[in-house]
Amino acid sequence: MAKLLMKGNEAIAESAIRSGCRFFFGYPITPQNQIPEYMSKRMPQIGGTFLQAESEVSAINMVYGASGSGARVMTSSSGPGISLKQEGISYLAGAQLPCVIVNIMRGGPGLGSIQPSQGDYFQSTRGGGHGDYRVPVLAPSSVSEAVSLTQRAFDLADQYRTPVILLGDGMIGQMMEPVDLPDQPDQPAAPSAPSKPWAATGWDGSRPRSIINSLYIDPSALERHNTMLQDKFAEIAKNEVAYSSEHTDDADLIIIAYGTVARIARSAIRAARASGIKVGMIRPITLWPFPSEPIARAARTAKAFLTVEMSAGQMVDDARLAVGGLKPVYFYGRTGGMVPAVRDVLARIKEAV
């Protein structure tokens, strides 16, 4: 198929549809509005359901319902709306319901700004809502990677019966790049959804009742449930780490950056390498589970690390935990919707080596 020039938001929406997503519930907020806009046009064409809810709280609970009945379902929002969804995300995690939640981050806290940010790293990687849980967090750094990670998000969600967060920022949502969309467009049923015997699809007496629930009044029963969840999270952490390494073998300094910021870092690394500075990059593709082990391994040879983020310093905590005090981990960040410039990253590289 010929490549298409697509906006990140639209590419995520189309990729979701081609991954078998047939239900979308959301509420508008910049800079992710092209996702619901696109879904509102496409879902009726393929017999799917698009519904603009009266609020984000409502939308995430519609996701709970659709997922509980076995459908592939997605919602999307940005920081303020994602905060509103947290109660529902905790319930989804507790009830082990697969779904994909897209967060196209904007500056915060509060209503903040509509410009790009990575200030929701803690919220995303630590679960976000109440209780002991984590959800896989995937961070695309290009529009084409947003397409493949959207597919991956649906597969992970079904495989582990968990919500999965696709974490982008205003830049990835708004920019256009060439994409190769996966085939199988416009199929009526979820093409790659595995069977879901646990789903509440109407009881006919032929199997045990499927009950979708996150309430366990008996503490010992809830502890057993938590132990099972923790075992699942350990399994995800063991199997699903994804990252990319660039020029790390001979690097004195390793930059750790994710999403669009990794692109900016890559430009700075090219410039630094051109002037003889040995810099590399580890780019986490999954933020949870975090690529701690490859970073720890790199700490044996690299002299220092630098995390670059559009935040006041969030992922740097995970980087420091991974490095374990073995080498210094420096931080450079911008906030509020301001984006790090290549020349500023380059200046930090020169300071750090």
Partner: protein
């Protein structure tokens, strides 16, 4: 090769479309492309701009903070973006609407009377295509055929009748800087 192009003007002048056409044309020639718009509470008549990166290797930063080429379609854009053009870079400005002279002496400057040329062609709305033609004649990033193909793809069957006037505009723009 990596070229960073900034295109700015009023909302409604078609600056975002210029960037998209350039990106699609680049894509047709198997170049790496990235288009990034300014976004926010936009309105017709307000400011609009986009950055386009065209390269023959994977693109790093999608942002155009220090453009190699700036295409500026109105006065506020000139005031805002002339200072950030990379030294040795290129400025094309719409001299039909901009009454000021660019001040920089370390860049190449081309004035293109886009609106005047478009009006002479009989359709004031193709001023952006005049500028795109001028830009591409100077930059030589993509072929005229690729630009026209991108235009055909974008306009679709419904607006096919607009191809000739847009084609004339691209050619007239190219001629104006020849």
């Amino acid at each position: 090769m990596e070229k960073r192009v900034l295109i700015a003007g009023f909302g409604g002048q078609g600056v975002l479309l210029m960037g998209q056409l350039l990106s699609k044309a680049g894509m047709r020639e198997n170049l790496e492309v990235c288009w990034m718009p300014s976004y926010g509470p936009e309105m017709r008549g307000g400011e609009a701009n986009c950055g386009v990166v065209i390269a023959d290797e994977p693109i790093g930063s999608p942002l155009v903070t220090e453009p190699d080429v700036a295409i500026l379609m109105n006065r506020p854009s000139l005031d805002k973006f002339e200072p950030i053009i990379a030294p040795g870079g290129t400025l094309l400005y719409n001299s039909s609407l901009i009454d000021a002279e660019p001040a920089r002496t370390d860049i190449m400057v081309y004035d293109v009377p886009c609106n005047d040329i478009a009006v002479k062609l009989g359709n004031a709305r193709v001023a952006n295509m005049v500028m795109l033609g001028a830009f591409n004649a100077l930059a030589g990033l993509v072929s005229m055929e690729s630009l026209l193909d991108a235009l055909r793809e974008t306009l679709g069957k419904g607006k096919e009748r607009l191809i000739p006037i847009n084609q004339q505009a691209l050619a007239a723009g190219a001629e104006s800087v020849a």
